[in-house]
C-alpha cells in the first residue's frame, strides 16, 4: 500500500503523498463533511520533475509571502531586496526566467524588476507545486528555470457552508495577519459552489539581531471571490482576486553616487537609529494586482475534452522615492500593465492512459506610464502580442511513461516612449518581432517498488523585457544608471533535469540533478564608464548577452527512526558560469543545507502533535567576480529554528496551534542573495504564533 501511494505521486514530496493519493483518477468526488467537492486533477504532468507543498506543509509557514513559503523546497531560494521584498529563485533563475501560475493564469506583472515581488497571496493556495524543468511547451515563454503553480482549493458542488480562519502574530516587525475563507453551495442547485477569501496583514519595522531596520513596514489587503457550476459534461468557473500591498524600502539602502555606496559598505550597517514604527514613508511601493478569470471545460464523448480559459490582469505599480520639494507624494514610477490571456486546450485521452493535448495561448499586453510623475519614465509604454500553439503527446507503458511536446510562439513587441535629456525630448522605441520553436521530452521509469527515475529535457525561451531593451536612466535609490539594448535577441534555455527517488518506508529520498545551457543569456554589468550629472557621478550598467551554463543538484531525504522520531536533510548546490566571458554569474545562491529532527505524537484530547528542531547552514559564495560587485559576498552562517504544533477537535470543527522561533539565537548575519546586504544585516529572532480554525 505504501508503495502504491508512492507510485501514484512519484513527484510529490513524501509529506504530501498521503494527501495526494485522494486524487488518483482525473476527476473524483470526495465528501468533505457536508460539502461535496470536485477535486481537480493535479496540475502537474507525471513526467514533470516537481515538488508539491501540501496544505499541511503550507500551514506551518502561513503568514509569509510566496517566496518565503516555498523556500523550504530544496533548489528553491529567494532573492531579497531588504526584508520587505522577496522573489522566488528556482535553481538559480528568477524574475522573467520563471513562470508563476496563479489559479491557472500566468502572473503578468512588472516581474523584470529585482525589487518587484510576485503579487500573490499564499493564503489562496491549497497546494503549491514547483516544477523544476524548462516546461515552456505546456506553460509558455519564460519557464526557463521552472514554474510555480499556486493551486486554490476546488469549489464545493453541494449545499452547506464551510470555512476557516487563520490568525498569525509574529514578534519581529510585530506583525499581525488574519485570513478567512468561506465556501458554500446551494442545496437547490447541485453543482453550484462559491468561495470568498480575504487576508489582512500589517507589520512594522523589522529588527536585525542588533538594530531596527528603518522603514521596513508592510501593509497588505487581499481578497478573492469565486463561483463555479459543474454538470456531468461541463464545468464553468469565474474568479476574481485582488492583491494590494504597500511596503517600505529600507532608508539606509537609499544611496546616491558610487561614493555613497562605498562609504556605506565600509560600515556595513546603518549608523542611524530608527525605532519601531508601523508607519511607512518614502521610499515605498504601492502595488495593486487584479485578476479576473473565466473558465469553461467541456467533456465530449470519446474521452475528449476542451478547456477555454480567459484571464484579465491589471497590475498597478506606484513607486515613491525621496524627492525634492513636495514631490514625495508623487510616484516616481507609475505603471499600469493590462494583460489579457486566452488559453485553449483540447485533450484526447486513450484507454491505455496515453493522451494528446493540442493547445493555443494568446497574450495581449498593454503597458502604460501614467503621466504626472514629473520624472523620466524608466521603461516605455508598449503593446505586446504573443501567440503560441503546442501539441503534447503522452504514452504510458507498464514501467514507463513518456511525454513529448512541440511548440511555436510568435511575439510582437511595440514600444514607444519619451525621454527628457539636456537637449529636450527624445522619442525612443520601435517594433521587435520574436519567433521561437520549443520542445520538451520527459520520461518516468518505475524501476522497482523502491526506485524511480524521472528525466525531463526542455527547451524554453523568453523575449527580452522592456527594461532590457529600452531602459535608460538613473535607477533611483540604487545608485546606478541603466542602459538597455534594443538589439537584444531572445534568450533560449536548454534544461535537463533528472530525479531519482527512493522509498523504502523508513528511508526515502529524492535527488534532482540538472544541467542547463542558456543561449543569449541577458544580463547587465558595469561598463566601467560613469554618468556625470549635477548630483554626482553614477556607474553605468549596460545590458548584454552571453552564453551561460548552470549545473546543480538538490537533495531531500527523510529517515524515520521510529513512528515518533524522524530526521530530514535538504541540500542544494549550483555551479553557474558565464561561458562567453569565462566568468562567474552574479546572484547565484551559495551551497546550503537544512536539517531537522522531528517528533510526531498524539496527545490526549489533542490531534497530531509535533515538535521540531532545525538547523540551516549557508556557505559563503566564493564564486563571484570582484569587479562586477560592490563588495565581496558575506561570510557563511548557521541559523537554528524550533517549532511545534498541535490540533484539537471541537465537534466537527478543528482548532490548531503552531509556534515557531526562527533565528533562535538571534544571530547577526548577512545573506548573499539579499541585495541590501551591503547596508544591513538580515532579520533577527522571530517568534510566530499561528492559530487556525476550520469548520
Amino acid at each position: 500500500m505504501i508503495a502504491l501511494t508512492f507510485f501514484s505521486n512519484v513527484y510529490a514530496q513524501e509529506d504530501s503523498v498521503k494527501l495526494d493519493s485522494a486524487v488518483k483518477t482525473r476527476v473524483k468526488t470526495i465528501k468533505l463533511k457536508e460539502v461535496g467537492v470536485v477535486e481537480k486533477a493535479k496540475p502537474v504532468g507525471r513526467t514533470s520533475i516537481s515538488v508539491t507543498l501540501s496544505e499541511k506543509q503550507l500551514q506551518q509557514t502561513k503568514g509569509s509571502g510566496l517566496a518565503e513559503t516555498i523556500k523550504e523546497i530544496p533548489g528553491v531560494s529567494i532573492l531579497k531586496t531588504g526584508s520587505t521584498i522577496s522573489k522566488p529563485v528556482i535553481e538559480g533563475m528568477h524574475g522573467n526566467r520563471i513562470l508563476i501560475l496563479n489559479n491557472e493564469i500566468r502572473l503578468e506583472a512588472q516581474q523584470w524588476g529585482l525589487e518587484h515581488a510576485p503579487e500573490i497571496d499564499p493564503f489562496l493556495a491549497k497546494r503549491i507545486h514547483v516544477i523544476k524543468g524548462a516546461e515552456s511547451v505546456r506553460y509558455g515563454a519564460e519557464a526557463i528555470g521552472g514554474v510555480i503553480i499556486v493551486e486554490p482549493p476546488a469549489l464545493p458542488t453541494s449545499g452547506g457552508i464551510s470555512g476557516g480562519l487563520n490568525l498569525i502574530g509574529a514578534s519581529n516587525g510585530r506583525s499581525g495577519t488574519s485570513s478567512a475563507m468561506l465556501n458554500g453551495g446551494l442545496k437547490s442547485l447541485p453543482g453550484f459552489g462559491w468561495r470568498m477569501q480575504g487576508t489582512l496583514k500589517r507589520s512594522g519595522n523589522v529588527r536585525s539581531a542588533e538594530y531596527y531596520l528603518g522603514n521596513t513596514g508592510v501593509r497588505e489587503l487581499n481578497y478573492s471571490a469565486a463561483a463555479g457550476y459543474h454538470t456531468e459534461k461541463a464545468s464553468y468557473e469565474v474568479y476574481y482576486s485582488r492583491f494590494g500591498t504597500e511596503l517600505g524600502i529600507l532608508y539606509s539602502a537609499h544611496v546616491g553616487t558610487k561614493e555613497d555606496i562605498d562609504a556605506r559598505i565600509a560600515i556595513g550597517r546603518p549608523l542611524e537609529n530608527y525605532g519601531f514604527v508601523y508607519n511607512i514613508t518614502a521610499p515605498r511601493q504601492k502595488v495593486a494586482h487584479d485578476l479576473f478569470k473565466a473558465k469553461a471545460h467541456y467533456d465530449f464523448s470519446n474521452q475528449q475534452s476542451l478547456a477555454i480559459t480567459y484571464g484579465f490582469q491589471k497590475n498597478q505599480r506606484k513607486e515613491y522615492d525621496f524627492r525634492r520639494g513636495d514631490r514625495e507624494a508623487l510616484p516616481i514610477t507609475d505603471l499600469v500593465l493590462n494583460t489579457h490571456t486566452l488559453d485553449l486546450v483540447f485533450e484526447k485521452q486513450e484507454a491505455s492512459g496515453s493522451k494528446r493535448l493540442y493547445g493555443f495561448n494568446g497574450i495581449v499586453q498593454v503597458n502604460n506610464n501614467i503621466p504626472g510623475t514629473l520624472a523620466n519614465t524608466f521603461i516605455p509604454n508598449y503593446d505586446g502580442f504573443t501567440a503560441g500553439v503546442f501539441v503534447i503527446q503522452r504514452w504510458v507503458k507498464n514501467d514507463f511513461e513518456f511525454e513529448g511536446g512541440l511548440r511555436y510562439d510568435f511575439k510582437l513587441f511595440d514600444a514607444a516612449g519619451y525621454r527628457y535629456t539636456g537637449d529636450g525630448e527624445q522619442y525612443y522605441g520601435g517594433q521587435n518581432r520574436f519567433h521561437n520553436v520549443t520542445g520538451s521530452f520527459g520520461t518516468l521509469w518505475k524501476i522497482d517498488e523502491q526506485w524511480q527515475l524521472g528525466s525531463n529535457l526542455g527547451l524554453a525561451w523568453r523575449a527580452p523585457t522592456a527594461n532590457e531593451l529600452f531602459s535608460n536612466g538613473l535607477h533611483h535609490g540604487a545608485g546606478l544608471y541603466e542602459i538597455g539594448n534594443p538589439n537584444i535577441e531572445t534568450e533560449q534555455g536548454y534544461k535537463w533535469v533528472n530525479a531519482l527517488k527512493y522509498y523504502q518506508g523508513k528511508l526515502n529520498f529524492t535527488l534532482d540533478v540538472y544541467a542547463q545551457y542558456i543561449n543569449n543569456y541577458i544580463y547587465s554589468e558595469p561598463d566601467k564608464t560613469f554618468k556625470q550629472t549635477v548630483s554626482g557621478t553614477y556607474p553605468i550598467f549596460r545590458y548584454k548577452q552571453t552564453n551561460a551554463s548552470f549545473f546543480g543538484a538538490d537533495f531531500s531525504g527523510t529517515y524515520h527512526f521510529s513512528e515518533l522520531l524522524s530526521y530530514k536533510l535538504n541540500a542544494a548546490l549550483i555551479r553557474a558560469r558565464d561561458l562567453g566571458n569565462r566568468k562567474y554569474l552574479p546572484y547565484i545562491p551559495s551551497d546550503r543545507l537544512d536539517q531537522r529532527i522531528r517528533l510526531d505524537f498524539q496527545l490526549e484530547n489533542f490531534g497530531d502533535t509535533w515538535l521540531q528542531a532545525g538547523h540551516s547552514f549557508v556557505r559563503r559564495q566564493t564564486r563571484y567576480e570582484a569587479e562586477s560587485d560592490y563588495a565581496a559576498p558575506p561570510g557563511s552562517y548557521h541559523l537554528f529554528q524550533l517549532s511545534g504544533g498541535t490540533a484539537m477537535k471541537i465537534g466537527e470543527q478543528e482548532l490548531s496551534f503552531n509556534l515557531s522561533v526562527d533565528n533562535l539565537f538571534n544571530t547577526l548575519y548577512k545573506e548573499y542573495m539579499n541585495r541590501y546586504r551591503y547596508y544591513t544585516h538580515d532579520m533577527g529572532r522571530n517568534i510566530t504564533l499561528r492559530l487556525a480554525y476550520k469548520f
Partner: protein
C-alpha cells in the same frame, strides 16, 4: 443545460474578441522636474567683525561678486580657476535652477530638516565656513544655501573645491552640527544622496599675488 453551454460560448467568443482588439499605447512626454538643471555659486567679499564668541559679517559697498556657473553635468566652464585672498571673508551663495530654468534653492531652505551642504576639498586649516541660512521665522538653520567662507591661509597650488548639497535620509540631520561643514566622511556618516555636487579649482592666495 445546453442553453448554458451556448451562452457560455457566446460570452467566451465575446471575451476573445475583446482580447484581440488592438489596444493603444500613447506615450506622453514627461518633464523630469526632479532633475536640477544648472547651478551657480557666488563669492562676494564681506567684512568679518569679531563679537565675543561669534562674528558679524558686514557688507562692503564696493565689493564685486564672482559667479561660477555649473552646467547640468555639474561642470564649470573649462579652465575655471578662482583666486580668493588670504585673510578675507566671502559670502558664498547658491542659486540652483530646475529643468525649466526656475530658481529653486528656496526648496532646500523650506526642507531644511533634510538638506545640508558640505564644503570639501581644502587642505586642513585653509578655510573656515559658517552657515548663514534662516528659516521662515528667521531662525538660524544650517543648510548652506548661504554662508560665509573665510580664507585663513593661502596654498602653493590650487585644489578642487567641492560643494556637496546633501539630501539626507529621515532622521539623519539631527546628528549633524555646524562643525561638520567639512566632514570628509559625510557620505558614510550622513546617509542620503546628493542633490548637487559642484566642483571647480580654487586657489587661496596672498593679497596682491598675480593670476597664473
Amino acid at each position: 443545460m445546453n442553453k448554458l453551454r451556448n451562452y457560455s460560448l457566446v460570452v467566451l467568443v465575446g471575451l476573445i474578441a475583446i482580447t484581440f482588439n488592438a489596444c493603444k499605447k500613447d506615450p506622453k512626454p514627461e518633464l523630469p522636474e526632479e532633475e536640477i538643471g544648472k547651478a551657480e555659486l557666488t563669492f562676494l567679499e564681506v567684512e568679518r567683525e569679531a563679537h565675543g564668541d561669534h562674528y558679524h559679517y558686514n557688507p562692503i559697498a564696493e565689493a564685486k561678486p564672482t559667479v561660477i556657473t555649473f552646467d547640468s553635468k555639474g561642470l564649470p566652464p573649462v579652465g575655471t580657476h578662482l583666486h580668493l585672498i588670504e585673510g578675507k571673508t566671502y559670502k558664498l551663495t547658491l542659486r540652483s535652477f530646475d529643468f525649466a530654468n526656475r530658481e529653486m534653492q528656496q526648496e532646500f531652505l523650506e526642507k531644511h530638516d533634510i538638506h545640508q551642504a558640505f564644503i570639501l576639498g581644502a587642505p586642513d586649516g585653509i578655510l573656515t565656513y559658517a552657515y548663514a541660512d534662516r528659516d521662515k521665522e528667521n531662525k538660524k538653520i544650517n543648510v548652506g544655501v548661504s554662508g560665509y567662507l573665510t580664507v585663513d591661509e593661502h596654498t602653493e597650488t590650487g585644489f578642487t573645491f567641492r560643494y556637496v548639497l546633501r539630501h539626507l535620509n529621515p532622521g539623519v540631520k539631527a546628528s549633524i552640527t555646524a562643525a561638520n561643514w567639512n566632514d570628509v566622511n559625510f557620505a558614510a556618516k550622513f546617509a542620503g544622496a546628493n542633490d548637487l555636487d559642484l566642483k571647480f579649482e580654487l586657489h587661496p592666495v596672498h593679497e596682491g599675488e598675480h593670476e597664473h
